[in-house]
Symmetry: C2
Subunit: 356 residues, 2 copies
DNA sequence: TCGCGAAATGTGATCGATCACATAACGGAA
DNA sequence: TTCCGTTATGTGATCGATCACATTTCGCGA
């Protein structure tokens, strides 16, 4: 592999000279403009190849004020869902020959997010994508009244915003429906943080599906998506009469099952547990976890498509991709035994969600 | 929040006019060059603030051929370890006011990686970082003989390359040492893919620590880091005489324990299992997993520091951060019962690793 | 007051593309 | 052949910074 260490990169003028045309004609070829004789075009393209010429994005950006570059704000990108969406968004962008500046937020306070967006703007990004569980991230970016397109991963359309998202609400209803069809009637819920729209939608789905069957939504907790939060909820919550729990994501379900085990309850015999996301570990937990699978690949790709369409001047719009798919494994079953009795570590009033 | 939609961004000339100086003086203030009177400097800075002026990176990059931009190749970024390193690398870069182009590879074949690097070069990145389990990614990038600094996440220094990594080898030895000190003498290993240096180092640590105690390395498998691979190994491997298994990462340990459970073996009573990484779920598995914790935050930050130092003309070097820390939980214990007998699903010759 | 070197500031070229406009070449009808 | 409207190509300005170099101002000793 000849690593020809050019003294300097070839410029458009070098190409022009070699092809025996003016730099402007080269520019026409580069940008696929009309009115170039095929024979000329061929000569130019050959010169480009011979010199291994690549146009300078800096020079181009300077005059066109376009950069073919996108900014991506990613918060909570160590969790499975968001990080998958980021992966596929990024990959799709590369396929479309766009470059992506990424800002992975370790903490998504207002200042950091604002700073990241400002850095993007300074780099002349042509659009911004936000993949963040926390609604505050969306609020901040939306509040900056950018003059460039913005697309957000979000289960619910929001006025003035392009959104892409999976149907969390009906996914959650499917989860609860599954439990009800097994015969459960008291079904608890461990929700995600209340500043997350996905979490809100899953909780709303839980309530509505219960209501649709004349059941009441009682036991309820709020976690931060982490296994530790699931564990705390599982240790502290009031279980009397409860036969099933719907956890807002798989990671919390892991912690939850751990706590139930410690309280002497068997899953699924004493308590059915259902998660959300279908992380790779889900099939191998003890017991293998029933959950709802989301198509993160599709989400990431749709986000990119939507953003590019908007950059090209297309109309605003919201995409709601398919409903998450129910994957039945072994953590749910019919409510076999009596309502469980277990020593309880903490006590939570049934109707008041408790922050963990 | 006055969203003053300027007709156009202010330029260095606007600032110069307002401050009553030449554009060159403004440039001096911007770049902290000497020979500017403090009073003049103050006037310029005030003008900058008043006009909300930000220098154009495109114009700057065009003339300086510098971009204050880094390219990051990330492969396997849905796994916990790499994605954490990516997160902290990125965050540290933003703190240092550098922008990061990220290329998340969904598959890391030679062509994709080469393409990503070429896109980076086109964008005039000043350095490239590689966070990838697969050694092929490193080979490709290193083989391109770039004229810009390159830093790689890698447990072992490699000639002509700046590397940063945790000491996988001694981490693995600590894992095996832990098992031996509990009384185990036949300790199997489920390694990561053989094209991963981390995997090689962990395996080498396993072998060497056994040898140091006069024990032989027998049962051995090769997985791809996924829970599914752990499960396949656990279902198929020969267990006779074995009392402990060291899995090269936590995710495979999850699958492994699942398979052991299905074969009627209890962890840790019949088989001790130890993992590597300490994923957030580890503490909540059944049983909670003994493992080795890596400091990914430190790794990401060190990578950035090393890369920036090289960009500033510093000498090449390799950083080996601390040895991963042993976290003892409940998946390991003394080898209580007799050597286990279990129905076996498959059969593997003891000395030949089997690809899963 | 003068002179002179250092400090402070200004002027014009430059990076490498596109844009706006001018001009040359072509091709068919009068 | 002449003319004229396309089609093809070329010329010079422009984007917004830095760089190289020229010029002015300042401070201080002779």
């Amino acid at each position: 592999m000849a690593a020809d260490e050019n003294p300097r990169q070839a410029t458009i003028f070098d190409v022009a000279r070699l092809a025996g045309v003016s730099h402007q004609t080269v520019s026409r070829v580069l940008n696929d403009l009309p009115n170039v004789r095929p024979s000329t075009k061929a000569r130019v393209e050959e010169a480009i190849k011979k010199l291994r010429y690549v146009p300078s994005p800096a020079a181009r950006a300077l005059v066109t004020r376009r950069s073919r570059t996108i900014g991506l704000i990613a918060a909570g990108a160590t969790e499975y869902g968001p990080s998958s969406a980021v992966l596929y968004f990024n990959s799709a962008a590369r396929d479309a020959r766009w470059s992506v500046f990424t800002a992975n937020m370790v903490d998504s306070d207002q200042g950091s997010i604002r700073g990241a967006v400002e850095a993007f703007l300074r780099q002349n990004v042509e659009g911004i994508a936000v993949i963040a569980a926390q609604e505050v991230a969306v609020d901040v970016v939306a509040g900056m009244e950018l003059s460039i397109p913005l697309v957000v991963l979000r289960a619910v359309p929001r006025h003035g915003l392009d959104t892409v998202g999976a149907d969390q609400y009906h996914g959650a209803r499917a989860a609860v429906q599954h439990l009800i069809s097994l015969g459960h009637s008291r079904i608890g819920h461990l929700a995600g943080p209340s500043d997350s729209v996905d979490a809100q939608e899953r909780e709303r789905g839980w309530r509505d599906e219960l209501a649709a069957h004349g059941l009441v939504a009682t036991t309820h907790g709020i976690g931060d998506w982490s296994p530790a939060a699931g564990y705390r909820f599982g240790s502290e919550c009031e279980l009397t009469g409860l036969t099933a729990i719907f956890a807002a994501n798989d990671q919390m379900a892991v912690g939850l099952m751990h706590a139930l085990r410690e309280r002497g309850l068997a899953v699924p015999q004493d308590m059915s547990v259902i998660g959300f996301d279908d992380i790779p570990e889900a099939a191998h937990l003890a017991p293998p976890l029933t959950t709802l699978r989301q198509d993160f690949q599709r989400l990431g790709q749709d986000m990119l498509t939507t953003l590019l369409a908007r950059i090209d001047g297309g109309p605003a719009g919201s995409v709601l991709t398919a409903v998450p798919q129910l994957i039945v494994r072994s953590s749910t079953t019919v409510p076999g035994r009596e309502a469980p009795t277990a020593r309880r570590v903490g006590d939570v009033p049934a109707s008041t969600p408790r922050h963990l």
